[in-house]
């Protein structure tokens, strides 16, 4: 058993000479192992755990290697014995993170059946059953109506429950299917070895550069065997599970595996309970509470009134039940779910995958975005940005698709510089990529060499072929990390000189030069040129770019004739007195779409805070580049430099921008951090650790912001979880980050977040409209009962009819409002304040209930009285008629004309009234859905037919209404009667009134913003 682990560069597939027991640590799960012959062992075998320890924070990093060996009964050089290893495996299980525990399916289903509104419906159903039981035992005719109603109510609850469950199931499935898009964990196991999860680099061999990976730490972190910090998270001699090794070699001892690793703990913490409710969930809960409260209040009031008036207890109970049915918007939750999932689908097409439906809306209320730099704001690809030669700084094209301007390439110096850059480079393209555009080809080599290779490929053409023309004689690799030199033969066979090319840190290169190339002429390198070099170097460095110097020399052919034996060890060739060719600087350039996106955020009142592990200068340069720090904004340091005063004397409030690095952050109290976030609108955090990201998120939340956080590493999961909306990167992100996040960006692009924000805001607006539409009809559903009880007219609207309105005809139109386009540029408004701007506010409810709902009620009653009067029952006769009308033994009740009606004839007349009232509500609801298209603009400005879904929804509503009315058999099943055609037109004037009134309302709101009218009537 091996427990010592050697970490090697991730470019392992090109390192041929690998001895046994070398591990490649690349990603949280992608751990590879190779056998001695360099073949992949293709068997898929789950992790085997070497051993583990119990404590999360312990002193493993502080103790000596000998103590460590004792603690784990292992050997640093030989590893665990096989027996020991299998014991450990048995004890701790395989080295894998347990997936978060899901809620059992039946509980999920039960939850769907036991929501606030559903409970009310259950109560209503129970009342119906009791009523049926009592009436049945009395032998009352028509008692079966109660039974049918009870069954219908239960069906409604179960069906909507099934629907909700199905939606939830589907959205979990979307996430599950998304998981399949991400490369799955593949573990390769060789013999009895195991893969590490956490290792102590107590046994580092040679010079190790272990880089902690992901976008978080774009600056590689070197790891050393020494304990550098008492906090295991900060010390340099522990490498954590899931970090990426970019370069270097290390040996380590495994100290933890699986869920016991820090990442495992973070992941289990992150996936644990205590999920904070999303703003939309709070909104809906708030709304359901109010509705349920009002339903019970109304129901109870009328129960008492009915009892007082002298109805029997049972009848009063049935009134209570009917009011609950009328008042509860049964279809609302389904509508909300459908609207949200529609938006989620729309977002998925725009590369945002939402894991939790409600996150769609949260994104819309976001007021702060804490964004990573590398990969999110930038392309995550070192690119040549500037060149300095002929004493001029030239800008290279850094756009992703090479659409930018190129620089002047006619100079002789450029040719020399390009040659040095092309030849003095070990990076190569992977074969068979000719069809790909150069920037997206895969290169084997480190970041800066890759940048240079792509740069030369773009500017001078086929670099590989170019290199072949200059035969490589000897290569001196980074003998120090700063320089690299190669000696080549020249391409001209007649010219027998050798060419030495060298690149490295500019100041080191300059030391070795005695001349400088200017316009193709070799000029002596005097003080003036040195100063020019210094200025250029500082300028480029100030841009946050990584600068390399290039030089060359043609070697004297007499001193170094053909066949001269160059020794890379002894350096028997000139390494000074060279000719300086120029500087090339590189940066990870911002993505093309990011500056626009940041600008959009700014206009949308969203703060973008950059949180990066990068160097402050680079961070600041990129921030300025993408507009996070706007033009003309100064930091405290800038002001101090401008005014030539010490930093302490600067009034902190004068500085708009602020760059804080991790070191400073560590020393700040949370109050100081809050203050800094409050006083500086433009913030950049550099050199921060993942723990600090969490601190920043918490600070923003303390200031009352809704915070979106991007992240990719496993160690970002707590911050992702803590944030109101965690956004994981789809390409660079680790699985743990994706698990903790609410949303995943498939293209890792910051601009997609802004699209998401826009959609989130739109859905909030549209949900408002949809709910307003849904709420309105509750009043015309409720008033018939109130009039029925108080004035004792024959019942105008039946319970089953109400359920048909709620769950059949009105569902599609209310969902169609989700397709409504934004009324104005929603990205020019401030983010909503979750404490003040409610989904269902007072104005919305009052306007829907007491104005539009009232008009609809009048429409219904007009149609009802018309249908009654035209069949022989004058309005005044109807008043107080209830007890006679409903007397099943009275078969000759006289109408206003003296005609006599049997009970059944009256019952069918009552069904006619239900249908007529239903039709009135439908006609008014068509008008209602039209007015709900906009809250402020005129519908004429918005366009009647632009929302095709809404138009088809209206057509569907009418067709369904007609089907219900005229389908044979309906009267006896669902109490719908084939009504006379003209009764469809009675409510039309009221429909027009609704439309005209709302247009007047909107006109007032537009014309007089802030007026009484605006305050009272704008929802």
């Amino acid at each position: 058993m091996i427990k010592n682990v050697v970490l090697q560069t991730t470019h392992f597939f090109y390192e041929k000479k690998i001895t046994k027991s070398i591990f490649y640590l690349q990603d949280s799960y992608n751990m590879f192992e190779m056998d001695g012959e360099g073949k992949w062992n293709a068997a898929y075998i789950p992790f085997i755990v070497p051993f583990t320890i119990g404590q999360f924070l312990q002193d493993d990093h502080e103790i000596t290697i000998e103590e460590l060996e004792m603690r784990y009964t292992t050997s640093v050089t030989k590893g665990l014995t096989s027996r020991m290893a299998s014991e450990v495996l048995e004890r701790d299980g395989p080295n894998e993170l347990l997936p978060p525990k899901g809620t059992p399916e039946y509980i999920k289903f039960a939850r769907q059946l036991a929501g606030g509104l559903q409970c009310l419906m259950w109560v209503a159903a129970v009342i119906c059953f009791i009523a049926f039981g009592i009436e049945f035992s009395r032998g009352t005719l028509g008692c079966f109506d109660d039974l049918y109603l009870a069954i219908t109510l239960i069906t409604v609850v179960v069906v909507t429950g099934c629907f909700g469950y199905y939606q939830e199931f589907k959205s979990t499935n979307i996430i599950a299917s998304f998981k399949n898009l991400v490369p799955q964990v593949k573990i390769w196991k060789y013999r009895k070895c195991m893969v590490i999860s956490v290792c102590i680099l107590g046994q580092l061999e040679a010079n190790l550069g272990l880089y902690l990976g992901g976008c978080w730490e774009s600056e590689p972190q070197s790891k050393t065997p020494e304990c550098t910090h008492e906090n295991p998270l900060e010390t340099k001699n522990i490498a954590f599970f899931s970090t990426t090794c970019l370069e270097g070699v290390a040996t380590g001892t495994v100290i933890n595996t699986g869920d016991r690793t820090i990442i495992g703990r973070i992941a289990s913490l992150a996936s644990g309970v205590g999920n904070e409710k999303t703003p939309i969930a709070i909104e809906i809960e708030h709304f359901v509470d109010i509705i349920a409260g009002l339903a019970i209040f109304f129901g109870f009031t009328f129960f008492v009134v009915a009892m007082f008036i002298g109805y029997a207890f049972l009848e009063a109970m049935i009134f209570f039940m009917a009011i609950v049915v009328a008042y509860v918007p049964e279809g609302l939750l389904a509508t909300v779910t459908v609207c949200l999932s529609l938006t989620a689908k729309r977002l998925a097409r725009k590369n945002c995958v939402v894991k939790n439906l409600e996150a769609v809306e949260t994104l819309g209320s976001t007021s702060v975005i804490c964004s990573d730099k590398t990969g999110t704001l930038t392309q995550n690809r070192m690119t040549v940005a500037h060149l300095w030669f002929d004493n001029v700084i030239h800008a290279a094209d850094t756009t992703e698709d090479q659409s930018g301007q190129s620089f002047d390439q006619s100079s002789e110096t450029w040719r020399s510089l390009a040659r040095v850059a092309a030849l003095c480079n070990r990076a190569i393209f992977k074969p068979n990529q000719e069809s790909l555009p150069i920037p997206s080809r895969i290169v084997v080599g480190d970041a800066s060499e890759t940048a240079l290779l792509k740069f030369t490929e773009l500017t001078i053409g086929n670099t590989m072929e170019y290199r072949e023309r200059f035969k490589k004689v000897v290569e001196v690799p980074f003998n120090s990390t700063n320089k690299f030199q190669v000696i080549h033969e020249l391409e001209d066979p007649l010219d027998l000189r050798y060419l030495l090319v060298m690149k490295g840190a500019p100041e080191r290169i300059l030391e070795r030069c005695s001349t400088i190339l200017i316009k193709g002429q070799e000029l002596p390198l005097d003080e003036q040129w040195r100063e020019a070099f210094q200025t250029a170097y500082m300028d480029l460095g100030g841009l946050g770019e990584r600068v390399l110097g290039f030089c060359h020399i043609y070697m004297n052919e007499k001193e170094f004739p053909r066949g001269y034996k160059f020794e890379s060890e002894e350096m028997n060739f000139p390494t000074s007195g060279l000719c300086f060719a120029g500087l090339i600087s590189m940066i990870d350039p911002p993505r093309a779409t990011v500056p626009d996106a940041v600008m959009k955020c700014r206009t949308a009142g969203i703060r973008v805070v950059m949180v990066t592990g990068d160097h402050p200068i680079t961070a600041r340069a990129i921030a300025a580049n993408v507009g996070i720090i706007s033009e003309g904004s100064e930091t405290i340091e800038d002001i101090a430099a401008r005014k030539r005063i010490p930093v302490e004397q600067v009034n902190k409030r004068d500085a708009r921008a602020c760059v804080i690095n991790g070191g400073q952050l560590k020393d700040m109290s949370s109050e100081e951090l809050d203050e800094a976030l409050r006083s500086h609108p433009e913030m950049v955090f550099a050199r921060t650790s993942p723990q600090q990201k969490l601190i920043i998120v918490e600070s923003c939340q303390r200031l009352g912001s809704i915070v979106a956080v991007t992240g990719d590493g496993v160690n970002d999961s707590p911050a992702l979880k803590k944030a109101d909306i965690g956004i994981a990167m789809g390409i660079a992100g680790s699985d743990a980050a994706k698990n903790a996040a609410d949303m995943i960006l498939l293209d890792d692009n910051f601009a997609s977040i802004v699209t998401g924000v826009e959609q989130g805001r739109l859905i909030f607006d549209n949900l408002k409209k949809s709910i307003a539409y849904t709420l309105t009809k509750n009043i015309p559903e409720l008033t018939p009962y109130l009039i029925y009880i108080t004035v004792s007219v024959p019942l105008p609207l039946g319970c089953i009819t109400i359920l048909f309105i709620e769950l059949a005809t009105d569902i599609f139109p209310s969902v169609s409002l989700a397709y409504e386009k934004a009324e104005s540029d929603i990205m020019h408004l401030k983010p909503r304040n979750p404490r003040k701007d409610r989904l269902v506010n007072e104005a919305l409810a009052v306007y829907s209930y007491f104005q539009i709902g009232a008009i609809q009620s009048f429409a219904g009653f007009t149609d009802y009285f018309t249908a009654m009067a035209q069949e022989g029952w004058y309005p005044l006769l109807c008043v107080g008629l209830r007890s006679q009308w409903e007397n099943v033994h009275l078969q000759d009740l006289q109408d206003s004309y003296g005609q006599e009606w049997t009970y059944a004839q009256r019952l069918y007349q009552e069904y006619t009234c239900y249908t007529v009232f239903f039709v009135s509500i439908e006609i008014c609801q068509i008008s209602d859905v039209l007015i709900r298209k906009t809250r402020r603009l005129s519908v004429f400005q918005q366009g009647f037919f632009r929302n095709k879904v809404l138009v088809s929804a209206i057509v569907f509503q009418l067709l369904l209404g007609n089907l219900l009315c005229y389908c044979p058999g309906m009267p006896n099943i669902f109490n719908f009667m084939p009504i006379r055609v003209q009764w469809w037109f009675v409510p039309v004037p009221y429909g027009i009134l609704i439309f005209v009134y709302d247009e007047i309302r909107k006109l007032g709101v537009r014309r007089y913003p802030g007026s009484w009218w605006d305050q009272e009537l704008y929802y």
Binding site: R702, G704, R835, F850, Q851, A854, I855, F858, F861, T862, F865, T866, A869, Q870, E871, G872, Y874, P875, H889, Q891, D892, Q894, D895, S896, Y897, G898, Q899, E900, W901, T902, Y903, A904, Q905, R906, Y908, Q909, T912, N972, R980, V986, P989, Y990, L993, W1012, E1016
Partner: protein, 283 residues
Amino acid sequence: MRADTGAKEPYFWNPRTHEFLGRTASSWGLILLFYLVFYIFLGGMFILTMYVMLLTLDDYKPTYQDRLATPGMMIRPRSEAMEILYNPQDTESWDRYTEALDIFLAPYNNSVQVQNNDDCLPDNYFIQEDSGEVRNNPKRSCQFNRTSLDACSGIIDRTYGYQTGQPCVLIKLNRVIGMLPGKDGQSPYVTCGAKKEDADAIGELAFYPPNGTFNLMYFPYYGKKAQVNYSQPLVAVKFLNISVNTDVNVECKINSNTLTTGGERDKFAGRVSFKLRITSSNN
């Protein structure tokens, strides 16, 4: 802990801002005034549409008679559950029936009928059309004399046969404006029978007027406004030797060449069912 700046303001009555339920007095006044105007307008519109609708109605004939294709039928005396139960020996038990019949038949007294109504030509519809716009009102009605019920008229036998165990039951056809219940001079008539299992128990029946006809001259009906003194024709059924101490379920229905009895759902359209039980201690 949330650093809510506003703390908790009392909602119901805020003494600092003088707000009652979140509004000041003037704010309440304004909003209530708005709603007052709004509802006055709405109410006005409602009343206006109602008024217009009522204007379109004919005072004498309903616009539609969709539900009244088949007239309902009803019996007298009527009790809550369509049952006639009594004991001939026990006067108390049938007294209420005869009283109800007395009251019901009072308007049919010959004296009243002769005074108010015309003696019409039997077996023909008594049609009194309006000539164009000119209403032919009030319309006359035909005499339905109590004496035509003969043995069930309550004149000869003031107990309508209840005392002797030969009870009379009156059957009436619901009034429907403009209904013509027969063609070719054929008057509709009533037949009664027992439900299958009671077939033996029902015994012989006698109908008054003869054959149990509703004479055509009583139709059509022109509504209570035009035809104030309309006398609804009646048919009396006398159970001559009905079995005692058994429930007899009787069903009577109209026979007409224009009317059909109602469907499954309406047990009282064109027919009527009732239960008759005569208890007798000394059989």
